[in-house]
């Protein structure tokens, strides 16, 4: 087991490195000029050149790579080109927002999806069709469309939930949840659909297993068969799917944060992309990847708890 965790961690570090390298290469693949970005309008080419030199942009690529990599290991991404602030500080300010959204959305998707999937699996053909139709439907509705519509009805027309803004957890759980309600629901619906399908087929598959017959043959009550044995078996693919969903939802938060004016990582990514703020871009990618890696690690451990084959390895 410790070996297993170490292996997962090693893969995680590899992933972060890959994310960093990929972004580094992208940033350096075209004739980008951070000096021009930093100095903004009105700077002469000479000034831009001086600035690029000062930023070390003209050094050999490998030197820059080694240097940046060394800093990245310390989570040091340097200064933003636009607002000159420390990238790590800014992103760590924003991380809780995105983490809140995506964790809550993943949880909601997991709970709602599993419930729907279980119902679909055990309630017979009609319910299964309804759930399948719902999930097909919600998989196809773009979150940015749904978000706008939800805001229009729930925030503007009905005035039930806030349309924008983020309230910190430390300011009270109630307002925190309220401020996240619409974004989280918007994000979670698609995830719930995926999880529902996964859970339904997992349940159905589990219920068709030979050991279910064994359990029946010794008179095990049906609820136990369904909710202890089959559900636990189905929870393995569901937890696996949640890992993927978390990545998807974490990425999806870019659009959602923009839509709901939430000061998260996704918003920074968008600003970074529109502003050519390369340090922010690299920081966002590395930090997001780190979050995904850690989440996956947690889910891996959860899988190991659920699956004795992994635990006893």
């Amino acid at each position: 087991m410790p070996l297993y965790i170490a292996k997962r961690l090693a893969i995680g570090v590899g992933t972060i490195w890959a994310a960093f390298t990929l972004t580094f290469l992208l940033v350096h693949s075209t004739d980008n000029s951070p000096g021009a970005v930093r100095l903004g309008m009105g700077a002469t080419p000479e000034e831009v050149e001086v600035e690029n030199e000062r930023l070390g942009w003209n050094r050999p690529l490998l030197t820059q790579y080694a240097d940046d990599l060394g800093k990245m290991v310390r989570f040091d991404f340097g200064q933003s080109l636009i607002n000159r602030g420390d990238v790590r500080d800014q992103l760590s300010d924003r991380l809780p927002v995105t983490a809140s959204i995506s964790v809550l959305a993943t949880l909601l998707a997991g709970i709602v999806g599993t419930a729907l999937g279980v119902v679909a699996a055990v309630r017979g053909r009609g319910t299964a069709k309804a759930v399948n139709a719902f999930s097909g439907f919600s998989l196809s509705i773009p979150s940015f469309w749904l978000g706008v519509v939800l805001v229009y009805f729930f925030a503007i027309r009905l005035d039930l939930l806030p349309a924008t803004g983020y309230s910190r957890f430390s300011e009270g759980v109630g307002s925190w949840l309220q401020s996240l309600a619409l974004p989280v629901i918007t994000l979670a619906i698609g995830g719930a659909a995926v999880v529902a399908r996964m859970a339904a087929s997992g349940m159905r598959e589990a219920l068709a297993r030979e050991y279910i017959t064994t359990l029946r043959a010794i008179g095990t009550p049906e609820w136990r068969i369904r909710y202890i044995h089959a559900l636990r078996a189905a929870s393995l693919p569901v937890v696996g799917a949640l890992g993927v969903q978390f990545i998807v939802l974490f990425g999806g938060s870019v659009i959602i944060e923009n839509l709901f004016a939430l000061p998260g990582i996704g918003q920074a990514a968008l600003f970074g992309a529109t502003g050519n703020d390369f340090p922010i871009l690299i920081g966002v990618v590395v930090m997001s990847t780190a979050v995904v890696v850690i989440t996956n690690l947690v889910l891996d451990l959860l899988t190991a708890v659920l699956d004795p084959k992994l635990r006893t390895r």
Binding site: G12, G42, I82, R94, L160, G275
Partner: protein, 548 residues
């Protein structure tokens, strides 16, 4: 083996780092007293809607904002007003609503549109108007105890040649407010010597708002120190821990400020909401008390809720950058520029897209001295004449011109594109860039820009600045008609102002489109209204008052 254990340690550190940074972000505020409860007491834990304007505090979801008690004002801004540095001198007047709370300014614009002394106790201009002498309050200090005195004002103004300080550009060489020297007369008395021989009659107006804002001694010595934190003596302090750069700024009142009583709110939160609809939503659903600015698409929505305020003085125009025809040869002819102007059906644009705006071809707003109604008649919509003009310079088949956009073009731009295409066969392309850097750089390569300009209280200054010698004229094109009247116009001569207006339009440097309003949204249940600083179009934050 050794290597792998090192790897493991590295992993552990990485993991810990991420967890800590994640945790910190959320827990920072635990340090601040949980007195936020008092707000919740006076208000409600209930969702938005039912704030009956009782205590006039911010909307419910805003009221949970970190505060040490008292009133909170939440403002939604359309962009980060302090994106690169906290130095007010690096920004234009339109960003001043934010900086006005952190810095004391020598003079300020009031909600009557007048410029009055702020930390200046008295001021005087000599007879030739070549010198301005003023005295400062003597009780002004910064957080570290250092005083705001004459030496510091001089230190601030002496940085006028620095590239980054855009506001100070008007003090620069050859500019309308060029300063020859700043002399310290006493600990709290300063005299400014203007460089213009004819002097500047209302020189104190140059030292107002963002231009007159005084940064502390460290920032004055090295402006890069302002990149991470503000250093001002103003009525509020920025709560860096509670703020997220580019997203949320939390300002807390500084009780020891000399004018603290004039400010109604204990906490002011600025939320950056770039999405126009989201900004309007924020006001409507109560997360913001005030939204600066509101886009035309959202006007109806806010108006119907009685949540809209507006102020005139904004002019929209096609600004011709390529006056020499270097970039697009067609623009070398003044006829082309006039033809483009004549082919725009401004009334239709205004009716359809900018209801409430006024069509105009000229530079000066209607309320400003220098406005000339005859200009609008001379350049009224006349596509036939436009075609003739183009034909007269051999361009009857039209030409192509680019207008660089960030993201997608506006509805007005699309309308102009259509009109030029249909009337003149001129193709307007919108090459898109993904970042502001490229957008700004495009002034060096493209022929036109299209924009709405809030010209402020001294429109002539804008001509002297960007229009003739700034980013709108990177080619350095000369116009005798303009330069000959610019000096007197800057001095406030009414005839010269009219002449300047005519020259800009006749030269085809300025193709006016319409004069419109600056809009702001507000929550009428929580604040009394939006105090605009006259046609400068900015909101005077000091005058924002809670209901009741």
């Amino acid at each position: 083996m050794k290597q792998s254990s090192r790897l493991l340690r590295l992993l552990a550190v990485l993991l810990a780092l991420v967890l800590v940074t994640a945790a910190c972000g959320d827990n920072d505020d635990d340090a601040s007293p949980g007195a936020g409860d008092s707000v919740a007491d006076s208000g409600d834990a209930a969702p938005s809607g039912d704030d009956s304007g009782d205590s006039g505090d911010a909307a419910p979801s805003g009221d949970a904002a970190p505060s040490s008690g008292g009133l909170t004002l939440t403002v939604a801004l359309e962009s980060d007003y302090s994106p690169a540095t906290y130095n007010p001198q690096a920004y234009a007047l339109s960003q001043f609503p934010f900086h006005s709370l952190l810095y004391d300014s020598l003079f300020v614009t009031t909600s009557d549109g007048e410029i009055v002394p702020n930390i200046v106790t008295e001021f005087a201009t000599n007879e030739e108007a070549t010198q301005l002498t003023f005295s400062l309050r003597e009780d002004l200090v910064f957080d570290d105890g250092s005083p705001l005195d004459a030496e510091l004002v001089k230190a601030n103004l002496d940085r006028r040649l620095e590239e980054d300080l855009r506001s100070y550009s008007l003090f620069g060489e050859g500019q309308e407010g060029e300063i020859a020297d700043v002399v310290v007369n006493g600990p709290y008395e300063v005299t400014i010597h203007w460089a213009f021989e004819q002097g500047i009659a209302n020189g104190h107006e140059f030292l107002a708002d963002n231009v007159g804002a005084i940064v502390g001694p460290n920032g004055a010595a090295d402006s890069t120190t302002l990149e991470t934190a503000p250093e001002g003596s103003g009525p509020y302090r920025l709560d860096l821990d509670a703020s997220t750069r580019g997203a949320t700024y939390v300002l807390r009142k500084w009780a020891d400020h000399w004018n603290a009583d004039a400010y109604a709110y204990d906490t002011i939160i600025f939320n950056i909401i770039t999405d126009a609809q989201a900004r309007a939503n924020a006001v409507l659903s109560g997360e913001a008390d005030l939204a600066i600015k509101i886009e035309p698409n959202q006007i109806n929505q806010l108006e119907s809720e009685g949540a809209l305020a507006k102020i005139g003085g904004t002019v929209a125009a096609v600004n011709v950058l390529d006056k020499t025809g270097e970039r697009v040869p067609a623009f070398g002819f003044v006829e082309t520029r006039h033809a483009l102007s004549l082919a725009i059906d401004r009334q239709t644009i205004v009716d359809a897209l900018r209801p409430g705006a006024r069509p105009t071809v000229q530079y000066f707003p209607e309320q400003a001295v220098g406005f000339d109604p005859t200009l609008n008649e001379r350049y009224a919509y006349d596509p036939d004449r436009a075609r003739e003009l183009l034909a007269s310079v051999g361009l009857e088949d039209g030409f192509e011109v680019d207008k660089v956009v960030l993201g997608e073009p506006t509805d007005v731009e699309l309308a102009i594109q259509r009109m030029w295409q249909e009337e003149l066969g001129v193709t307007l392309n919108f090459p898109a860039v993904t970042n502001t850097g490229e957008l700004f750089a495009s002034v060096n390569t493209t022929a036109i820009i299209i924009n709405e300009w809030g010209l402020g209280l001294r429109p002539a200054g804008f001509v002297a600045g960007p229009v003739t010698s700034g980013f709108m004229n990177t080619q350095g094109a000369e116009s005798e008609a303009i330069s000959s009247v610019l000096g007197p116009a800057l001095g406030g001569n009414p005839e010269a102002l009219v002449a300047l207006n005519n020259a800009l339009v006749d030269e085809g440097w300025w193709i006016g489109l319409y004069e419109t309003f600056t809009y702001a949204g507000y929550n009428p249940d929580s604040i009394q209204g939006v105090p605009f600083g006259g046609i400068s179009g900015i909101v005077v934050m000091a005058d924002v008052e809670p209901v009741g």
